[in-house]
């Protein structure tokens, strides 16, 4: 087949002739050739690009700009006319107001890091338990999945009711077995405990099932060979299961961290940052600054930008040290 005919019959063809096959690597790299062959991609991406620019990039840029103004915080008329004030919001946040800012940084990292540690530990543990020949495995797995299947906003609202001091079912159950009721949401320690327990309840099913399905894809021969060599359960877990699961652990761990860092509803609905902002994270603080009473838009925007910067820094470091985006970039 001549090259022209091949191209007409098969426009997306990589190699129109044998010569092309050998030259392909060199030629594929030239910009003009790639443009000529791949230009329809830009058409397909056009609508998405517009959405990303106008409905994602522009609002983000606008948020960054608002964080550099006195919008809502510069006196009585700052909601109507506001001014560019440079970095003074940031300077204020780390001088006069530094205790709040540092506690937000600490709380956000503590909330995300602590949650992910629980998710991974419980997920791995339960997946190991479920990855045995046991009766009723499907029933257990289905029942464990239920919390994850319920919409989070709804179940968090129910949990918020359950943790109440006077009329919450948890204190009700405690008093039933003779334990004095705990004022969960009025003390920092117990408030965090309530938040973590709720968050674990929301997410452990997902981690368990993900780890379980990865474990089931490990070839059985590996374990048989290890048994013949006299390996015990622990060393099989450490030498076979864990290395095999590592890419999955890093991936869902990072995703879980990013998600939890910005997970708004558990904290907003259960403690709303109380007692006294000791359980507030960036995202709840920002929302409350903007829409909770007095509209301090510039402060809200500043906390959003700080949140974004921290998340980007963490993501860049993790992506740089691991190769988990290999599949995304092919």
């Amino acid at each position: 087949m001549s090259q022209g005919a091949a191209k007409r019959a098969y426009p997306g063809c990589r190699y129109a002739s044998l010569n092309d096959f050998f030259m392909a690597d060199l030629r594929d790299q030239t910009l003009s050739f790639r443009l000529r062959r791949e230009w329809p991609a830009y058409l397909y991406l056009l609508p998405t690009t517009l959405v990303l620019l106008f409905l994602n990039a522009y609002p983000i840029a606008y948020t960054i700009y608002v964080s550099l103004t006195d919008f809502g915080t510069g006196g009585r008329f700052s909601l109507l006319t506001y001014h560019y004030v440079g970095l003074s919001n940031y300077v204020y946040a780390f001088t006069v107001n530094s205790s709040v800012s540092w506690s937000l940084i600490f709380n956000s990292l503590f909330w995300a890091g602590g949650s992910v540690a629980f998710f991974l530990a419980i997920g791995l543990g339960l997946a190991t338990v479920l990855n045995q020949e046991i009766r009723g495995k499907t029933v257990y797995r289905t029942l464990i999945m239920l919390p994850w299947a319920m919409p989070a906003f709804i179940t968090i609202l129910i949990w918020a009711n359950m943790w109440q001091y006077n009329y919450g079912i948890i204190n009700g159950m405690l008093s039933y077995v003779g334990v004095a009721p705990v004022d969960w949401l009025q003390h920092t320690d117990t408030a965090w405990a309530a938040l973590f327990i709720t968050n674990i309840w929301l997410s452990f099913p997902f981690y368990t099932v993900v780890f379980l399905s990865t474990m089931q894809s490990i070839p059985k021969d590996l374990y048989e060979a290890a048994s013949i060599d006299g390996a015990g359960m622990l060393s099989k877990f450490g030498r076979i299961t864990l290395p095999y699961l590592m890419p999955t652990i890093v991936f869902v761990g990072l995703m879980g961290f990013l998600f939890t860092f910005n997970n708004f509803y558990p904290i907003y609905l259960i403690t709303n940052g109380n007692p006294g902002s000791t359980t507030a994270i960036f995202i709840t603080q920002s929302y409350n600054d903007a829409f909770g009473g007095s509209p301090a838009f510039s402060t809200a925007a500043m906390y959003a930008v700080l949140d974004f910067l921290i998340i980007v820094a963490i993501t860049v470091v993790v992506l740089w040290r691991t190769n988990i985006t290999r599949n995304w970039l092919k």
């Binding site: 959405v51 990303l52 990039a57 948020t63 999945m145 359950m162 399905s213 929302y287």
Partner: protein, 290 residues
Amino acid sequence: MRQRRGVRAIRIAKRVATHAILILTCIFALFPIYFMVVASLSTLPVAAITAHILVPRPSSLTLSSYHSILLDQNPSFLAELTNSLIFACSAAAIGLALAAFTGFALSKFNFPGRRTFVYFILLISLFPSFVMILPFYLMFAKLGLIDTYIGLIIPYSAGAVVFSGILVKNFMDSIPDDIEEAALVDGMTRTQAFFSVLIPLCLPVLGLAAFLAFVGPYTDYAFAHVFIDSNNLFTLALGLYQINSANGAGAQDYGLVCAFALVMSLPIVAFYMLFQRYIIGGLTLGAVRG
């Protein structure tokens, strides 16, 4: 003989421990849901529910909470459901169409700037979506879009595109190029091949993307709370929050809250339980494939 009995004892102990752990986990997982069901079926104050929850007496169970949330609310449950469906379905449809094109372009073309585009999407997806409420609110206040259907559908769809696009791309990466090339040899254009070969192969992931784009707006409170003032735009999430504020912990009447919550979550739970295998597989595509 003695040793064999020891081995058997260990095996039985292991099995008992396994079931004990799993049963405790199931109790932890199911208790809040069980509480919701029992509370929604009783009109008792919470002090009585505590005793009631361990051994529910059939005689005290009643459907009156369900009757009340379905028929006696203002705005009505049906109106809220309609609004929620309008928001969620529009966002899912728009988000899905855009995500399919994006996934196709990013997965099957090797155009200059592809890497940059993927990094750009990843970067945008890291920006906290709840914070986008602020710029959207300020922008839409200027454009007069606050308290309108369009004003909420736009941010919902914009949010859906980012995640679904990556999801579809990851799935399309797993479809061999040969399939598309075979269609091209048969004389199709790439666009034809996309619609008649790739789209049908991608149906599971497109379904998942649409579902996730649906669930977000369906259960969204943060955006709706800021963007909606008038009663005729009220969504289910706002309705649930309102009922909770009026009847929750303070008023000691969980019946209405729990009944509303259960009815609202029923379709989502059914979908998750039916398709959990696809959902888990789709969400971890980028990770598991090596």
